[in-house]
């Protein structure tokens, strides 16, 4: 049984990484998209970000050096990641339940990271008391906050008429999965592994490939559920936890202009030579095959001449 759970964990980690990578690679491999930024863009420098301004506020902007600020961008990211600012501003009732859920998950991730570090330290013969103290703090806090948040979200989705319309079985399933997984984690912490010694041993076994026999059934169920949940996440809309990076940085805040950029021009050249197969008469009716051919052709001028 223990060996089986070890194998499941290895498989889960591999599937999780592969699914995340697949999404990212597929995103990166998409063709260049047009600019579609949305202001305020926080990396605008010179005080512009504060009021939502841009470099386009200058005459001959292409001749002027662009002021940008990474610090501003980091500040906005921090408020969004740590405070869920957009939900706080635009959907306060939801924030009260989604915030504990997300913060609970952050603490749970911290717990896993520190448990991993503690396990490595253990393998090296270091006791790492501070690390384990953080583990003992973040773990239970993370589990409990996630349960509260997920239960709140579930309640909202079941009772709020407006959310109900947009909630599918998957939404309910996901939230119940989190409640059950974290619930089992709390029970394991309370009754089986209060100091996370077993968890540390398990992780150490994973790292060192010494698959130490752990026989407690509740602990093994906990591991199974955590692995299943983590593996499942990138296959759902919860993939936003990493895709949000691209949605913000590559779309919403992508204001990079093309000022004689050989790199962008090469990409324009590629996309303009893509074939185009839209069927409407005004596109397909003139025998033109590529974007470049279609876009540089004025069918109406042609019609005029022919008449």
């Amino acid at each position: 049984m223990s060996l089986f759970v070890y194998l499941i964990t290895y498989a889960g980690i591999v599937i999780f990484c592969a699914a995340v990578l697949k999404r990212i690679i597929s995103y990166i491999n998409n063709p260049m998209h047009v600019r579609w930024e949305l202001y305020p863009v926080p990396h605008e420098g010179g005080g512009k970000a504060e009021y939502g301004g841009s470099y386009l506020e200058e005459v001959d902007w292409w001749k002027k050096p662009r002021e940008t600020s990474k610090i501003n961008e980091l500040k906005v990211m921090a408020a969004e990641i740590l405070g869920l600012k957009a939900v706080y501003e635009y959907n306060r009732p939801l924030w009260f339940v989604t915030y504990p859920f997300h913060i609970g998950l952050y603490f749970t991730v911290m717990f896993l990271v520190f448990l991993f570090i503690g396990s490595i330290a253990g393998l090296m013969g270091i006791e790492a008391l501070t690390i384990m103290a953080i583990v003992k703090f973040t773990g239970p806090l993370g589990f409990i906050l996630t349960i509260c948040g997920a239960a709140g979200l579930l309640y909202k989705r079941l009772t709020d008429e407006n959310l109900k319309i947009y909630s599918s079985i998957e939404h309910y399933f996901n939230l119940i999965l989190f409640i059950v997984t974290m619930g089992v984690a709390v029970l394991t912490w309370l009754f089986v592994d209060p100091d996370f010694v077993m968890a540390k041993t398990f992780i150490a076994g994973l790292i060192s490939f010494k698959l130490t026999g752990i026989s407690n059934p509740l602990f093994l169920i906990q591991i199974f559920l955590i692995v299943a949940t983590i593996t499942y996440i990138p296959f759902t809309h919860m993939s936003h936890f990493f895709m949000k990076y691209f949605l913000y940085h590559d779309i919403r805040w992508d204001d990079k202009p093309n000022i004689d950029s050989p790199e962008t021009n090469a990409k324009i050249n590629v996309v303009l030579n893509y074939p185009i197969t839209w069927s409407a008469e005004h596109i397909a009716g003139h025998g033109k095959k590529t974007w470049a051919e279609v876009a540089t052709f004025n069918p109406e001028a042609q019609t005029e001449k022919e008449q």
Partner: protein, 530 residues
């Protein structure tokens, strides 16, 4: 069907219409201003077109007459949807569409940001995510073919009604992207509305006549969506020059086709017909500032509109290329966009990754240039000539989508002693209600709908901005520096009878600049001519 009981799958049901906004549902307006009765949709329209969404018909989808035609509508839409997710057919927006399909948490955080949702009394059909959710469910089941899609994503029945209503619903959105700004994930429901419009136009050949036949097609055929060819446009501008030289006492002449000029100025040609004072004001300011500039008489060179941004990527790209070709032919140093928001966005930002090498002439907004002129001291101003309450409408395309916020305000603060902001403003502004092409639509009862629903939030913002200056004895001015916004605000003022009752008028920013010029006769802006 009551707005409360609307579910996603209602879109496919055989009810006569999906929903309707009744007067009692509407968001209340300030000042108890009188609501006009809206006309019903004309009977002839109902016979010919699929008017099954609500009580308006914008897209005019021909009503299928046989089972085969019904199926054809569905099949063509699905075929187009497949192309929306193709990297070659939709390289322009594939990335944004895919990420919106996959990452939306269906949390409804975007809903309250939408002025249509609010104005309609929270009618479900206007919720930004409603049409997206229908589109998403169809995509996941019929195009992506996700296993257990009904369970995972929710159910939607696919029939001709679903498609006809979805198409029409893509024209119940101003594509102002205020909802996208509120989304914590970065998903974009405005984009989805536009993608649906694209499928209808690019695959099915269905688009509102004002945008396609009477819009981008006319522009490519005659040079302008107004159908003015270059000769007529030149004649009209010459007439404007003479007329306004006399009125203002300021001699000026609008230059055409000056090779090697620094600036090619491109107006929305609708201004020539509807707001000649705007054309004259630009010419007066540019001449007074001693700029090297010109207009172009090339096809599309004298009309900055690019309606493709509202509904069709191909028409968009063709028009952007025509604009760039006009500039290249004259050998100008840069293109300056006059007061037209969508033209700003189309040619400066989106075109950035569309125009091929050789056509990438630098492009900029008129607002920074006007700000610099006002502040340069080259022209003498008397701000007391603008001593009436003025508020500023921010066109979404210029502010939220381009970040041009301050130059307009610097001009206002310099020249308008009673300038006051609307709330909210800048990148968080509300659309005027004419965005995405609606402003030029007057067909059937579309005008009534624009006044009642789409422009409702804007008129309420405008009234609130003037709450300290009520009454017909105080002249008030809404500065709307965009042709489409101006058209919409004109219709709002007319519809709510605010010129007579409140001496409320509207115009662009250049009119305020010229109105304050010492070298020009006083009274460039007046409240008699509307």
């Amino acid at each position: 069907m009551s707005k409360k009981s609307l579910t996603i799958n209602d879109v496919s049901k055989a009810s006569p219409i999906l929903t309707k906004v009744d007067n009692e549902d509407l968001m209340p307006l300030p000042w108890n201003i009188k609501e006009k009765e809206s006309k019903d949709i004309a009977e002839g329209i109902q016979n010919d077109y699929a008017c099954i969404l609500d009580d308006v018909s914008v897209l005019n989808i021909p009503k299928p007459k046989t089972k085969e035609e019904e199926q054809e509508l569905v099949d063509k839409f699905i075929s187009g949807m497949k192309k929306s997710f193709s990297r070659t057919d939709n390289w322009t927006f594939l990335t944004m569409l895919e990420t919106t399909m996959e990452n939306c948490a269906k949390c409804n955080t975007c809903s309250d940001a939408c002025h249509l949702y609010e104005a309609s009394g929270q009618n479900e059909m206007y919720r930004p995510n409603y049409r997206t959710e229908i589109f998403r469910r169809i995509y996941k089941k019929y195009v992506k073919k996700e296993p257990f899609s009904d369970l995972r994503n929710g159910k939607v029945d696919l029939n001709w009604r679903t498609i006809a209503r979805l198409g029409e619903m893509s024209y119940r959105c101003n594509i102002c992207r205020r909802c996208a700004q509120a989304c914590p994930i970065g998903a974009d429901n405005a984009l989805v509305a536009r993608e649906i419009r694209k499928i209808f136009s690019q695959e099915m050949g269905i688009a509102p006549p004002e945008l396609h036949k009477g819009g981008s097609v006319n522009q490519m055929r005659t040079g302008s969506s107004t159908q003015m060819n270059a000769m007529v446009a030149k004649d009209n501008v010459e007439f404007i020059d003479e007329d306004f030289a006399e009125e203002t006492g300021y001699e000026f002449h609008t230059p055409w086709d000056v090779e090697g000029a620094d600036i090619l100025l491109i107006h929305n040609a609708g201004e020539i017909m509807a707001w000649p004072d705007n054309i004259a004001a630009f010419s007066i300011i540019f001449e007074a500032a001693g700029l090297s500039w010109t207009l172009s008489s090339e096809v599309a060179g004298y009309d900055s509109i690019n309606y493709g941004v509202f509904y069709d990527d191909v028409q968009y790209a063709r028009t952007a290329i025509l604009h760039a070709q006009a500039a290249k032919k004259l050998g100008v140093k840069k293109i300056v966009l006059a007061e037209c928001g969508h033209a700003h966005k189309a040619l400066t930002v989106i075109a950035d990754r569309v125009l091929p090498e050789g056509l990438q002439i630098p492009r900029e907004s008129c607002f920074p240039l006007l700000r610099d002129i006002v502040k340069s001291g080259k022209i003498k101003f008397d701000p007391s000539r603008n001593n009436f309450p003025v508020t500023l409408h921010d066109p979404c395309n210029v502010t939220r989508l381009m970040g041009i916020i301050k130059p307009q305000r610097e001009i206002m603060k310099e020249l308008c002693p009673q300038f006051r902001e609307m709330v909210p403003n800048g990148p968080h502004n509300y659309c005027c209600g004419g965005g995405s092409g609606f402003a030029i639509m007057h067909r059937n009862n579309i005008g009534d709908w624009r006044n009642k629903v789409t422009g409702r939030k804007k008129i309420s913002q405008i009234l609130n901005a003037f709450s300290d200056s009520r009454g017909p004895e105080i002249e008030k001015y809404v500065c709307a520096p965009c042709s489409n916004c101006k058209g919409q605000i004109r219709d709002l003022i007319e519809g709510y009878e605010l010129l007579d009752k409140e001496q409320l008028t509207y115009g662009g920013i250049v009119e305020l600049i010229v109105n304050a010029m010492v070298d020009v006769n006083p009274g460039f802006i007046n409240w008699e001519e509307f």
